[in-house]
Symmetry: C2
Subunit: 446 residues, 2 copies
C-alpha cells in the first residue's frame, strides 16, 4: 500500500451532473431550489468521511435556461448554510479573480473559514465565458493571459490579507482592555500593477489561516498557476495514460516554486453510474443519455468550444475547429473536447452523448467493486491522489457512492474510516500555514 493518502471530493451540482438529471425519476427537480437538499448532500458526504464538497460557479446564466437546471445559490452563501449543518466536511466554493476585488473575496473566505471552524476552500477561476464578461461591463472576455496575470496578483494580495492577522493577535484581556495586539496585525501596503490594497483584513486570522487553494484550469497558464498556488487540482482526464501524463506534468512543475509533490493533490473527475451489475449500470447510464435534449446539448457544446454549432447537423462530424492558442475562453476544456471528437471520429450527436454526463469528465458505469478498482488503479499508478466524484444524479448517486463504493475503499485500506483532522487542510494532509508576517517567518511572496 502506498504511503500517499487517498482523497475524495464530492462535486455537487443541482440534482446531479448529468444535464438531464432533473428529468429522471430518480431526482426531484424542485430540490435545486431547496437549501435543505444541499445540506443533506453535505451530511451524506460527511457520513462517507469525504474530504470535501465543492460547488462550481459561473457569473452568467449560460445556455441552461430552457433545458437544464442552473445554480440557484451562490457557492459561498450556500456553503455557509451547509457549514452549520455539518461538522467535518470541507467546503470548497468557486469564485472568480476576474470579476471580484481581492479584499472582498479574502473577507468572505475568511468568514466561511471562521464559521465552519476551518473548513473553507477556494476554487480559483479566471472566468473564461463571454457571457460573464457582458455582466461586468466588458464587450468581450478579457484575454486569457491578462486574466491569469490578474489572478496571480489577486492571489498574492489575498494571501497577504489572510496573513495580516497573526494567529495570536487576539488577546482578549478584559482587565487591561486590550482586545487585540496591534503589533501582530499588519498593513500589507500592496502596490502592484492591478491592485493597491493597504490592509489589514477586517477579520482576524481564521482557523486554517487561509482557505485551501484549489484550481481547475489545465491550460499551460493554468498548470503553472496551479503549481505555484494550488493545493488541490480538479481535472478532466479520460484515460489512465492521459491522467498519468497530466499528473507527472503538474508535479514536475512544483520544485520551480519550492514545493514538494505532496503539497498539491491531483483529483481527476469521475461520473459514476453505480448498479449491482455492469449491465444494469450501463442501462442506467443509457436512461440518462436518452433524456438529453439535442438542442440544449448543441448550445452547451457551442459554449464549451466557443464556436456556434446550434445550426450544425447532428449526424455530421464537428466542423474544423480553431487552435487552442486562438481561444480566449477555457483553453484546456476546449482541447479536451476537440481531441475527444477527433480521436474517436465522433459525430456531433455522439459527442453530445459522451459529454452529457460530465461535460468532458470521465464517465464510468459499473458495480461498486469495478468503480473501486478503477479508482485504485489510477491512484496506485500515479494518475491521481484522489478523485473528484461527480454524481450524475442527486442525492441517490452520492448516497450509492458513499454507502457502496467508500466501504470497499476503506476495506482495502485506501481511504480513511474516521476523520483524523478537523480542518479541510488537515483532511488533505497539508501542514497548517503560518502568517508570513509572523515573527521569524520570512515573507513567502515576492
Amino acid at each position: 500500500m502506498s504511503r500517499r493518502t487517498f482523497h475524495l471530493n464530492a462535486f455537487l451540482m443541482g440534482v446531479g451532473h448529468h444535464e438531464a438529471a432533473w428529468r429522471h425519476p430518480r431526482t426531484e427537480a424542485r430540490r435545486v431550489l431547496d437549501v435543505a437538499h444541499f445540506q443533506e448532500l453535505g451530511r451524506i458526504a460527511e457520513r462517507g468521511k469525504l474530504d470535501s464538497v465543492f460547488f462550481a460557479d459561473g457569473l452568467a446564466v449560460g445556455p441552461q435556461i430552457k433545458r437544464n437546471t442552473l445554480a440557484v445559490f451562490e457557492p459561498v452563501t450556500l456553503l455557509s448554510a451547509i457549514a452549520t449543518a455539518t461538522e467535518r466536511i470541507g467546503l470548497i466554493a468557486t469564485a472568480s479573480t476576474t470579476y471580484n476585488e481581492p479584499f472582498n473575496l479574502a473577507r468572505i473566505f475568511a468568514s466561511l473559514d471562521h464559521l465552519s471552524g476551518g473548513r473553507a476552500g477556494w476554487n480559483i477561476v479566471t472566468s473564461g465565458n463571454e457571457q460573464e464578461a457582458f455582466n461586468f461591463g466588458y464587450d468581450a472576455i478579457p484575454e486569457h493571459a491578462r486574466r491569469y496575470e490578474r489572478a496571480q496578483e489577486f492571489v498574492d494580495v489575498a494571501i497577504q490579507l489572510w496573513d495580516s492577522w497573526e494567529s495570536d493577535a487576539i488577546v482578549l484581556d478584559e482587565q487591561t482592555g486590550v482586545f487585540a495586539d496591534p503589533d501582530r496585525v499588519h498593513t500589507i501596503d500592496y502596490a502592484g500593477e492591478r491592485f493597491r490594497v493597504r490592509g489589514p483584513l477586517n477579520s482576524p486570522r481564521s482557523p486554517q489561516g487561509r482557505p485551501l487553494l484549489v484550481q481547475a484550469g489545465s491550460s499551460e497558464s493554468g498548470k503553472d498557476f496551479a503549481a505555484r498556488h494550488a493545493e488541490a487540482v480538479f481535472t478532466a482526464q479520460r484515460t489512465l495514460e492521459e491522467g498519468q501524463r497530466f499528473y507527472r506534468d503538474l508535479k514536475s512543475r512544483l520544485p520551480k516554486y519550492g514545493r514538494s509533490a505532496d503539497e498539491l493533490k491531483v483529483l481527476p473527475g469521475l461520473v459514476p453510474f453505480i448498479a449491482d451489475t455492469a449491465e444494469e449500470a450501463r442501462a442506467l447510464e443509457q436512461e440518462f443519455t436518452d433524456l438529453i435534449s439535442p438542442d440544449y446539448a448543441l448550445r452547451q457544446l457551442s459554449g464549451l468550444l466557443g464556436v456556434d454549432l446550434t445550426a450544425h447537423a447532428l449526424d455530421a462530424p464537428l466542423p474544423p475547429l480553431p487552435e487552442e492558442s486562438e481561444i480566449e475562453g477555457g483553453k484546456s476544456r476546449f482541447t479536451l473536447v476537440k481531441e475527444l471528437a477527433e480521436h474517436e471520429q465522433l459525430t456531433v450527436r455522439q459527442l453530445i452523448g459522451k459529454l452529457g454526463g460530465g461535460r468532458g469528465h470521465r464517465t464510468f458505469a459499473g458495480t461498486p467493486e469495478q468503480i473501486a478498482d478503477e479508482l485504485q488503479t489510477w491512484f496506485e499508478n500515479d494518475a491521481a491522489d484522489g478523485f473528484n466524484i461527480m454524481p450524475p444524479y442527486l442525492p441517490g448517486g452520492l448516497t450509492d457512492f458513499v454507502d457502496r463504493v467508500v466501504p470497499i475503499l476503506q476495506e482495502r485500506g485506501l481511504f480513511r474510516t474516521e476523520y483524523t483532522a478537523t480542518t479541510l487542510r488537515g483532511h488533505y494532509g497539508l501542514e497548517p500555514v503560518e502568517s508570513q508576517f509572523a515573527q521569524g517567518v520570512t515573507r513567502a511572496t515576492a
Copy 2:
C-alpha cells in the same frame, strides 16, 4: 390606537453595541468568534417575534484593533448561517455600492433570499470611511456626491437583475424537458454612466422577488436616496422633536417618487439599559461607561468626525469643526455629533461617555415599562414606525428586551404576538413586488 404597524429590528454587533461590552462580566468576549453565538441571537430575536436582525459592516479594520471587538464575520455569509438556524426572522446585511459590482451583490442577496425562504434585506451603504478606500486602490474616499450617484445606478441595475426572472419562469416540465421558459427570463441590457450589465441574473426570482431595501444615511443625498429606494430606514435621533422632524422630512420626500408614507418605515436607534428599577438601570449603564478606554474612544471619535483628536485634551471642549459640506465621509453622523457637542457644551470626555453606548444613537436606561413608554411615545407621536434596538451587551441585553419589553408592547396591542407573514417584506407590511419585466407591468425605472 394607530392603524400603523409597529416594527422592531435587532441591530446585532459582536457581544454588544457598547464599545466596552466585551470587558463587562455580562459578556463572554470570545463569542465574537463563534457563529453559534449569532445563531442564538437570531433565535432570541425570533422568539420575540421581531421583524429582523441586522448587521452593520465596514470594509476596513478602523480604530478597533486594540480596544474593541471587530466584525469577525462578513454579514451575508453570517446571515446565511443564521438563516438555517431560524424560520421567520428577517435577515438584513450591510453591503457597499462603492466597492462591489452590482451583478455580484444582486447574486448574493438573491442567494440569501432563496436559502432563507424570503427573509433577506440589504442595508445599502456608500462606504464613507477613508480606511476603506485604501483597501480598494483609492488614495482618498471617493466624493460623497459621486458615491451616491454610483449608488443610484447600482440599485437600478440590481433591481433590474432581480426582476430579470419572472416569478413563473421556472416550469420544470420533465416530459417536454423545459426547465425554464426563456420568454420569462430577460436580459436587462443596462448601459449607464458607470455600469454596463447584460443580465439576466444567474439565479431565478427569489421568494421575495428582491430583498428588503434598507438605508441609513441621513444626509440630504442620503434622505433623497432613501425616499427613492428604501423600505426601511435606520436613523440616529436623540430627542422626540428631532425624531419627528426627521420622520416628517423623510415621509414628505416620498410623493416625489410616487410612493406613499407607509412604503417606508422609519426606525430610530435605541440602546436600552434594562433593569428592575430606573436607578439600577442607570447604575448598569455607568458600569459600562466606566469601562470605556479614553484613547480608544478618541480614535473612534476622530473617525466619526474625520478630524484627528488623538492628541486632544480630554477635558477641553471640541476644537472648531468644519462645516458638513466640507465632509466627504458620513455627513449626517458628523453633524449629529457636532450638534450634540455644541448644544450640550460637552468636553471631549463627556462626549465620549455619551457616545460610548451607541456611537450617536440614543441611549436609554430604565425599567421595561419605561422603555416601552418611550417607544410608544415616539411611535404614537410620528417620530418612528418602529425601532432599531441596539443591545449594549449580548446576548443578555437582547434577551431582556425580548423577554421583558416586548411582552409589554404586545399587551398594549402595539406589537404582534405571532408572525403573520413568512417573508421579511411581509413582516414590514409591504406588498410583494412584481418583476418590471412581467407581462402587463411597465418598467419602474427610467
